[in-house]
């Protein structure tokens, strides 16, 4: 059996940390090639290692896969249904096909269903996938039900909830809840096509438990959640990502040492994010790091 050692860390001056069992390597057939991934790796991990481009929307690199969007489905031989690559773990001997007609059909239809029912105008990569898969969202007709007409919720100075762009990926709920922030300000409400992300009684954000950490914005895959600054600039037509620089620095507010990435356009900070691979933040910040940057640009 091939093994690979677990990454370990020994804090200085303390007892050695148990190494645990070495992780086994799982060998399976991916599109006709034998590949090896560490035990516990998902099919998506294996695909990315092998340089295969599988579209994802609800998958988040800092979150437990929810596999709600189904755009990453692949075909596992012997299975009745397709499997979401983002969450299905690799098993020894399984035969996985990522590019079959069936898998491509499902991805194409998922893109069509989403694009016909949601405003994807600010969703990164999606226009390319729609072209690649030959998706035609318009074929459901002009009367196809859509949430794209929902009005944006602008109820505070920091960020905007534009649920016309929401694909119900659950990532904001997970980030707000037990996976990161433990604030539980938002949840999925309603059922079926009428479901939505809401605070209690679908009220305004300032009346809710929200602490404005903005970690929901960090994980939102469609731009449904955005900085008020970005929302306003888009409305004015001045938002220009190509003209922006990104500078990663350390937050000066406290001693934790969170990384901030300042998105700057025309010498103004327009947005703040945090690197997802930063071991302290994993992309998360608090209200000060995320939104407390105005003093930097007070020039008087």
């Amino acid at each position: 059996m091939t093994t690979t050692p677990e990454r370990t860390r020994t804090p200085q001056g303390s007892a050695p940390v148990s190494l645990g069992l070495p992780r086994r390597l799982i060998e399976f057939d991916l599109d006709g090639d034998q590949v090896r991934v560490p035990e516990g790796a998902t099919l998506l991990d294996a695909c990315r290692d092998a340089g295969k481009d599988i579209p994802t929307l609800c998958y988040g690199d800092t979150l437990t896969p929810k596999n709600a969007c189904r755009v990453c489905v692949v075909e596992v031989e012997g299975a009745r249904t397709l499997a979401p690559a983002c969450s299905r773990k690799a098993e020894p001997g399984m035969k996985v096909r990522t590019d079959t007609d069936r898998a491509r059909h499902s991805r194409k239809l998922v893109l069509e269903l989403l694009a016909s029912s949601t405003d994807l105008s600010t969703t990164p990569h999606v226009a390319g996938w729609i072209r690649e898969y030959g998706a035609e969202p318009d074929r459901f007709g002009p009367d196809a039900a859509t949430v794209a007409g929902r009005e944006a919720k602008v109820d505070n100075d920091l960020y905007v909830r534009d649920y016309a762009k929401c694909i119900m990926c659950y990532k904001c709920v997970d980030a707000c809840g037990d996976q990161w922030q433990n604030t539980f300000a938002i949840a999925v409400a309603g059922r079926g096509f009428d479901n939505t992300i809401a605070v209690e009684h679908d009220g305004p954000l300032p009346d809710s438990a929200c602490v404005y950490c903005g970690n929901c914005i960090e994980v939102c895959p469609t731009g449904a959640l955005s900085f008020k600054s970005e929302y306003d600039m888009r409305a004015e037509g001045t938002w220009d990502e190509d003209a922006q620089t990104e500078t990663t620095t350390v937050c000066a507010y406290c001693g934790v040492g969170c990384n901030l990435t300042l998105h700057v356009q025309d010498n103004e900070i327009v947005k703040v994010s945090s690197p997802h691979d930063n071991p302290i933040t994993r992309g998360n910040l608090c209200i000060k790091g995320r939104f407390g940057y105005q003093h930097v640009q007070t020039r008087e």
Partner: protein, 610 residues
Amino acid sequence: MDLKYTDAKPTDDERAAVDALLGPAPSGWEGGTRDDLDLRWAKGGHEARDRRDQLLPALHAVNDRIGWISEGALDYICRRLTIPPAEAYGVATFYAMFSLKPRPAKVLHVCTDIACAAKGSAALCAGLEDRLGPAGTPKDGVVWQESPCLGLCERAPAALAIQAGDEVATAVIAPATAEAAVAAATAPETAPPEATELEAVPQAQAGDPTLSLLSRIGTVDPTDLDDYRAAGGYTALRNAFAIGPAAVIREVTDSGLMGRGGAAFPTGRKWQATAGQPDAPHYLVCNADESEPGTFKDRVLMEGDPFSVIEAMTIAGYAIGAHQGYLYLRGEYPRALVRLGNAIDQARARGLLGDNVLGQGYAFDIEIRRGAGAYICGEETAIFNSIEGQRGEPRSKPPFPVEKGLFGKPTVVNNVETLANVLPILTRGAEAYRTGATKLFCVSGALGKPGVYEVPFNESTTLRDLIDLAGGATGSLRAVLLGGAAGGFVRADELDIPLTIEGARAAGATLGSGVVLAVDDTVELPRILLRIAEFFRDESCGQCVPCRVGTVRQEEALHRIADKTGADAAADIALMREVGQVMRDASICGLGQTAWNAVETAIDRLGAYE
């Protein structure tokens, strides 16, 4: 968890309703009066949060007492159970039987599903509109609303009146006239009693001696444990104790019993896999969330023979090493709730449930959990989330329930009819059972004697036999919906299909939950298909894209072609095929995977829209 609650206050009635379930609030931390001690330390943590599974019962408590759930009531529930208000709101809005907006205490649910539509639910609704105004609009203290299948198909068209109050009053009106439905909704306490469960079983009325699963319906008092025992009740449990859990599982495995809820998974294998799990405790869940349109067999069993369900659950619990069983009952079954509650109380009082079942040193108890109007909660993992106080959304598999089920522990989920089969297996033995196995079918629609029928579960029974047994078609039979909305149609010239799992499969059909719904040529097929599509759209939990949006697109296409045929309908049929394929291939659970079945078979087998 530092929770922020709202400022809304419950009324005295709302508070009393919740306290009746949970007891008085012990401190200011849990919604009670704040005293000096409360200011000195915080109470919370796991102990406070571990009662999340009381959320659904608490929502029921308020809805039962008041008729709807106000902001103050929801906030009080959150404080009592340490639940974030946003999450409780998300759960409450998931269920169709709850309202978060004011509404009258008297609500009339009117079934408009396939079986009732075939028996005049449209005229019933029109009559209600004349008397009570449009659906959803209160008038004279009553509001009526359309409902998915109420599981009363043998007495279609059906309606269910519920009146909130200190004691909830319910009335079943079936078959319903608008006049009777309005009278019952206005005063459910004084409504005429509903038909006995015997009337749902024509074979029992005729005194058929070959019945096994239905043998006690109408002959044994469903409210009397002594009567049940005198009729052989609790022999199976004694036999189980005599041979031990491993042998019970062996018997069930050897019997060849397969799940009767629709998926037909071998029951013995499920029990074995759970019993062998080192993780503890193990749980048993009886899936009585019978909501598949056209299905009512479990209701008849629970109403007519409730002790058998309790006995069978005890045997299953014993076999898999569980000490707690949950019976998840759909919210629209008031009589089953009363009968089962009574059966559990009597069994407990007589030592047939509790710390020491039958003096054998085995502890087992059963709790009834009521659903609140969500078909999806009958899915085997959604049922866990619903019991746990989460939104009833299906989980991803793997892990499977036998490994991680209810509360993350190894769990067996069995349908009511599946469990009912365990009794004859243990009284007659696996071999004898195997040769004489029977299956229940829910026969409704355009037939002489609709009802639940028990027939031999082998090649000897064909669909035609069953239809003949049920009095034959009343009109010119056009098709039969086999297996429910998630099943499919077969043509009137295909009635020689043997009613076995293999026989149905070979014919490209499925037995599903045992639905046999006869459709004659008086009903417009496109209308039925639209109702099925509406059902799936309404009942989709909304978690995955193929089902959430796909069920909407399917319904839209069916609307477009409702009056079209041939080339005019071809483009939309092609579109539906594509949408159907992604629903079948890529949906998370069986709801989305089967949402296109009935429509597809109507197009391909019946030639709808040709």
